[in-house]
């Protein structure tokens, strides 16, 4: 099953491997297409995995006091045991987050294990159907699908051990594992990473009895929560400021990437980073850019992925190319998923960043843009308004025309744009970094522990 997030994914081997894993489908070997220049060969293979960070590594970013607070918060939890269970070890937002989070929790002596459920192709086809249905797609829940889902969960229940004091089950695929709960004083939490604001009633009705047996549920946005008889907490997704995608870069490297891609840094650069998906309205971005450019000289970079292994992505990429026409100032990049450093460089080279989604999960590409201090234009959907407070940490738009106007305004009012960028970075620092995520987990464990 696919992860929740809609950001351009980076797929690297996990640094903190879970104890069991599903088969990992490697990223396509076929290099992505670059419209302007041939990509250097070094981009064609994934980089070596980066070792997981330590808490002290974040001191220079969030300050010593913040890290001290995490250690104080963890004191009462020293030696407590926690198990995370999800459905994939590699690839996607959840695995990426757990790769960072699990070592950090262990570092503060919350003994954390990570298990991955297994299942056959039939199981993951069913869970993919559930995933889409829970996010609003049409779906007919057959008895066969129920049986496959429950049988695979039962096999996992028998295979896995659940002796820890806290058990956290991620997403719907392993939700029935709650049936492994015994009379021992454990705390079970369901962490839902997907948008449940408009679920298929049949599938949600099937899963809901399992969810109600948990002690608490966690959602990524207020609007994703459901009416449930258990406490529901809000954990915003986060980014890791030390990751390849977000770490500070030398300007020389940023320049090198721009040179290789034919991007002229002497002129304003407007960028959208997103896979080629209609929900991201890439054609709308090009239309807005062409309107804005009538008044302000600039270039548009559309950096995405997913067109090589996804038929719909390929179709959207064709539409994007058609919309761009032969405009030399519209640069379309179809990048493989391991180009995190290059994406980072593109974002840092940008004058403004756009994420004009018409449907969105949380929108971690917005978080990434804000973290880099970039004035950001976002569609007012999904989790984007949680990040962009209109005219304070960025600007929200509802139309192509609105997007065009904001591009013009931000490109011609650099002081205002700079202030938005500074506020946006501070907003991410306070609310959407990995350290905040660690804080939320420690808080939840303390709150649950206090309930006994």
């Amino acid at each position: 099953m696919e992860p929740v997030e809609s950001q351009t994914r980076t797929e690297t081997a996990p640094d903190f491997s879970p104890s069991a894993g599903t088969a990992f489908t490697a990223a396509p070997a076929t290099p992505g297409r670059v419209e302007r220049r041939k990509r250097p060969r070094t981009w064609e293979t994934p980089p070596a995995p980066v070792p997981p960070p330590h808490l002290d590594d974040y001191k220079k970013i969030v300050g010593e006091a913040e890290i001290d607070e995490l250690r104080f918060l963890a004191r009462e939890l020293k030696g407590k045991t926690l198990k995370m269970v999800n459905s994939t070890a590699v690839g996607g937002g959840v695995a990426e987050m757990l790769n960072q989070l699990v070592p950090l929790l262990n570092e503060v002596e919350v003994v954390t294990h990570w298990d991955v459920i297994t299942g056959g192709n039939d199981f993951f086809e069913v869970t993919k159907g559930f995933h889409n249905a829970l996010q609003g797609s049409d779906y007919r829940l057959t008895q066969q699908a129920r049986d496959i889902f429950l049988m695979n969960n039962e096999q996992n229940r028998q295979r896995l051990q659940f002796n820890e004091e806290f058990i956290v089950i991620h997403d719907p695929q392993p939700a029935p594992l709650i049936q492994a709960r015994t009379n021992s004083p454990q705390h079970w939490v369901w962490r839902c990473h997907i948008d449940l604001s408009n679920p298929n009633p049949e599938v949600w009705g099937f899963l809901r009895p399992f969810i109600e047996k948990y002690d608490a549920a966690i959602f990524s946005s207020q609007s994703f929560a459901r009416q449930l008889p258990i406490p529901q907490y809000l954990f915003y997704p986060c980014i890791d400021p030390l990751s390849e995608k977000n770490k500070e870069l030398d300007d020389a490297f940023v320049q090198q990437v721009c040179d290789e891609l034919g991007i002229d840094r002497s002129r304003p650069i407007v960028t959208q980073v997103s896979r080629f998906d209609r929900a991201k309205d890439p054609v709308g971005v090009i239309q807005a850019f062409k309107e804005a450019r009538k008044y302000v000289d600039s270039q548009l970079v559309m950096a995405g992925g997913g067109a090589t292994d996804d038929p719909e992505g390929a179709a959207v990429l064709r539409e994007v190319r058609e919309a761009a026409g032969d405009d030399p100032d519209v640069i379309i990049l179809d990048l493989p998923p391991w180009c995190a450093l290059q994406i980072n460089a593109l974002q840092r080279a940008s004058t403004i960043i756009v994420q004009k989604s018409v449907k969105e999960g949380f929108g971690l590409t917005v978080t990434e843009a804000l973290w880099k201090g970039k004035p950001t234009i976002g569609g007012a959907v999904g989790g984007i308004p949680n990040q962009i407070i209109h005219k304070l940490t960025g600007v929200l738009v509802h139309s192509v025309e609105g997007c065009a106007y904001q591009m013009r305004y931000l490109l011609t009012h650099p002081e205002f744009a700079k202030q938005l960028g500074e506020n946006g970075r501070a907003h991410v620092k306070e609310n959407f970094l990995m350290t905040t995520n660690v804080r939320r987990w420690l808080l939840l464990l303390r709150i649950l522990n206090g309930r006994k």
């Binding site: 529901q232 907490y233 907003h427 420690l442 808080l443």
Partner: protein
């Protein structure tokens, strides 16, 4: 920031030490939500006190880096989702420091929204662009390693603690101590006998500067008292 002089005193030891704490909050989603101003008014009346606290006191910390234009979530929603600037202005003008109980604060918001809805019947059922979801906080108070018995140690502690600690002692404290004051001023006044420094701290405007700026202003006032 005020510029009046602080009476210099020699540092001495306080009767009671000042223990720097900090607090951490976990957001909890409540059942209340609103898509019209009438629903909003109803939810304001019914929501748990923790929701009023979250969307006013807490949100100040979550957005502490913004110098202007952000006061509380209610005002932000009235402006950005309802396009009601006059209501937004009225809601934004509510200064949390004028309240020592969340119940009083709730009453003030109910009064503002109620009066606006009564004066403008056409807006009552107009759909907002975004739903307002009422959240609440579960709070954990955490001790830090910093303890002050003298003004010098107090200044040192202030330099080391995070803005979360400043929020806890300086802004949210009034709900605990039920006074129009804060933990820092109370300690300076009652345990170190420094009424002028205590008064100056209470005059810091938290709405026009960031929480880091607030922290720096507090440190400067305390450092001047050290001279």
């Amino acid at each position: 920031m005020t510029t009046s002089a602080v009476t210099p005193v020699r540092p001495h030891t306080a009767v009671k030490a000042f223990y720097f704490n900090t607090s951490a909050h976990l957001l909890r989603v409540t059942p209340q939500k609103a898509t019209t101003l009438v629903e909003f008014l109803g939810a304001l009346r019914e929501c748990p006190e923790g929701s009023i606290f979250q969307h006013t006191f807490r949100t100040l910390q979550e957005h502490h880096f913004i110098r202007e234009g952000f006061s509380n979530d209610f005002a932000e929603w009235a402006s950005s989702a309802c396009n009601e600037p006059s209501l937004a202005e009225a809601l934004a003008s509510v200064d949390v420091r004028e309240f020592t109980s969340v119940a009083e604060l709730r009453e003030r918001f109910v009064q503002i929204v109620g009066e606006f809805v009564n004066r403008n019947p056409t807006v009552q059922s107009r759909q907002a662009r975004e739903t307002f979801y009422f959240c609440a906080s579960d709070i954990v108070v955490i001790p830090t390693q910093y303890v002050a018995r003298t003004l010098r140690e107090f200044a040192e502690g202030l330099r080391h603690v995070s803005v979360h600690s400043i929020q806890h002692h300086f802004i949210e404290a009034r709900l605990r101590i039920k006074l129009m004051s804060n933990d820092f001023s109370q300690w300076l006044l009652e345990d170190l006998g420094l009424p002028e420094a205590a008064r100056q701290l209470n005059r810091i405007d938290i709405y026009t500067v960031t929480l880091d700026d607030v922290k720096n202003q507090i440190i400067r006032i305390v450092e001047r008292a050290l001279v």
